[in-house]
Each structure stands twice: as structure tokens, then as C-alpha cells.
Symmetry: C2
Subunit: 181 residues, 2 copies
Amino acid sequence: MELQKVEALLRVSSALLLISTACLVSLDTQTKVVFVKRRITYKQLDAFVHLVYVASAAAAYNLLQLGRCVFSSSLKEKSNKSYRYLAWVFYLLDQMVVYITFITNSAATEQAIIALNGAKVFQWMKWCSKFSRFCFQAGGAVVSAYLASALMALLTFISAFHLFRLYSPKSFLRLKNTQVN
Amino acid sequence: MELQKVEALLRVSSALLLISTACLVSLDTQTKVVFVKRRITYKQLDAFVHLVYVASAAAAYNLLQLGRCVFSSSLKEKSNKSYRYLAWVFYLLDQMVVYITFITNSAATEQAIIALNGAKVFQWMKWCSKFSRFCFQAGGAVVSAYLASALMALLTFISAFHLFRLYSPKSFLRLKNTQVN
């Protein structure tokens, strides 16, 4: 019961952080005259477009799981077999979501770093000195997405715990005799 | 016993893939005349420098764990308590290594994608059309690193299994009475 509260709290916080990431990125735009008048939006940066999609999807997933957390506290009273299948599904989904979030987030970070530092050998210019407000907002989005990813990494601990404690500590993938413990 | 063989196999394969990533990246260099004579190496791309360090460290970690796998098959016969601490340490280490590998690898991929496609709005030029051999080798390194990350993600399943099956399925973080099951 205690664990369920922790899980609900983690799901709420990571969903909020992911939503704020999606909002920060999708509202990020700046117009400035650099040689010609330029309007920069997140849509011109592939990695940030993907970040918006992934953050929204991950937030939706966490909210769905939150609903499951809050309303179906009677999950454990279901038959042992269907509980086990569900535990596997939730574990695999949690893992997938956290890896995908980390991957897109880190790609966006790398793109932001190139915009910040440039790359001399490739003649890639620094842009953050010119579009600083745009860059600060993108940086905030990335930090919030990393926090959300860290919380979701903790959530995989919980789903792994729910799943693997069903198995026997002595023999491989043998289910425990749950009547005893 | 069966599981230990699977783990050893996964550790060997991911270590080999990580070593091949590190080699592919660190031997990647191309000299070509584009306006002036240019020599491109991985050292000019931050994300690839980090990829070499992380891939080498992760390969070393997997080889160490492989040694543990092969030589200390008697781990389970140790006292229950120290086994549990070790299981926690291995689980957390495995998680850390897999996340860090995913993050650096995805940053390197993003840098490679920018080199491949450029970014018009920022006047970042495409370079892969000019340095194609360099880019193919970098692409191979990234693919091999992703395969290694996927194998290490499977390894976290095993370490989670080793850890959480020690706990009771009914009450939170209560250890099981291992004499019974």
C-alpha cells in the first residue's frame, strides 16, 4: 500500500515534468535579425520535434498508469496468473518508455550543445549567442525531461520489484508458492 | 545455472560489441581536400570522444562482471545478507551503465545525423557527402553501440530478477523465508 503511494507520486511528478517539457519546447520561438530576419522555432530542429512527441506520449502513458495505480488497488486480489502477465507487461512498457525518453532527450541535448558551442572543423556556427532566449527555454525543457527520465528510471525499480518477487529465489523462473510467504 | 550461462553469453557479446565500437570510432579518420586540405578525426566531434570513453569503460565493466559470473558460481552459497547487498550493487551498476551508454550513444547518433543532413536554418553544412568513408565507419560504430546497449538492457532484467526474487510477494520489502521455497 505504501509502495502504491510512492508509485502514484512518482507517476504524477514525471507526467508533470514531461508535460512542462512538451510545453516549453513547443512554445519556444524567437525572431531576430541576423543578416536577414530569421524566425527560429523548435520545428527546425528535428531532435526537438521528436522530443515533443515522445514527452507527450510518455506523459500520457504515466497518467494512464497513474489511473491504474489509483483505481485498481485490488489488482493483487486477481488470479495469480493474470497478475503475473500484467506485471510483465507493465515492466516491459516501463522499460521501453524510459529508454525511449532517455534516447530522444539526449539527442535533443546534443543538438542544443552544438547550437551552443558550434563545431569549428565543420564550420557549424554557434547560434545561442544570437538566440539566447530560445536557447535558455530549450535548456529548461531538456533539464525537465532529464528529471522526468530519472523519476521513470525509479519507476522501473518498482515494476521490476512487482514482477520478480513473484519468482522463487532458489530455482530459475519457478513461481513461488505464494500461500506460504 | 542455466541463467548464469545466458548472462555470461550476453556479457561477452556486449563487451565485444563495445570494444568494436571503441575501435571503429578511434580509428576513424579521413583526409580530403574541401576548399583546403582537411583531416577529420573523431576527436573533433565531442560526442564521439565521449562515446569512446564510455564504450571502453562499459566493456571493462562487462568483462569484470563476466569474471564474477564464471568464477564465483558459489555466490549463492554465501550468507544471505551479503548476497542481497551484492545483488543490489550489481542491479544499480547495471542500470547506471546501460543508461549512460544509451545517453552517450544517442548523443553521438544525433551528431552523426546533423553531419549527414545538415540544418538549413542554422547554415550547418552536410559533411557526409564529402567525407563518406568517415561517416560510414561512424555509422557502424553507432549501430554496434546500440546493439550492445540492447544486450545490456536484457542484462538488467537478469540482475533485477536476481535481486527482487529475494523479496516476499505479499508484503513490501520483506525478505522471503528462503528455507521454504
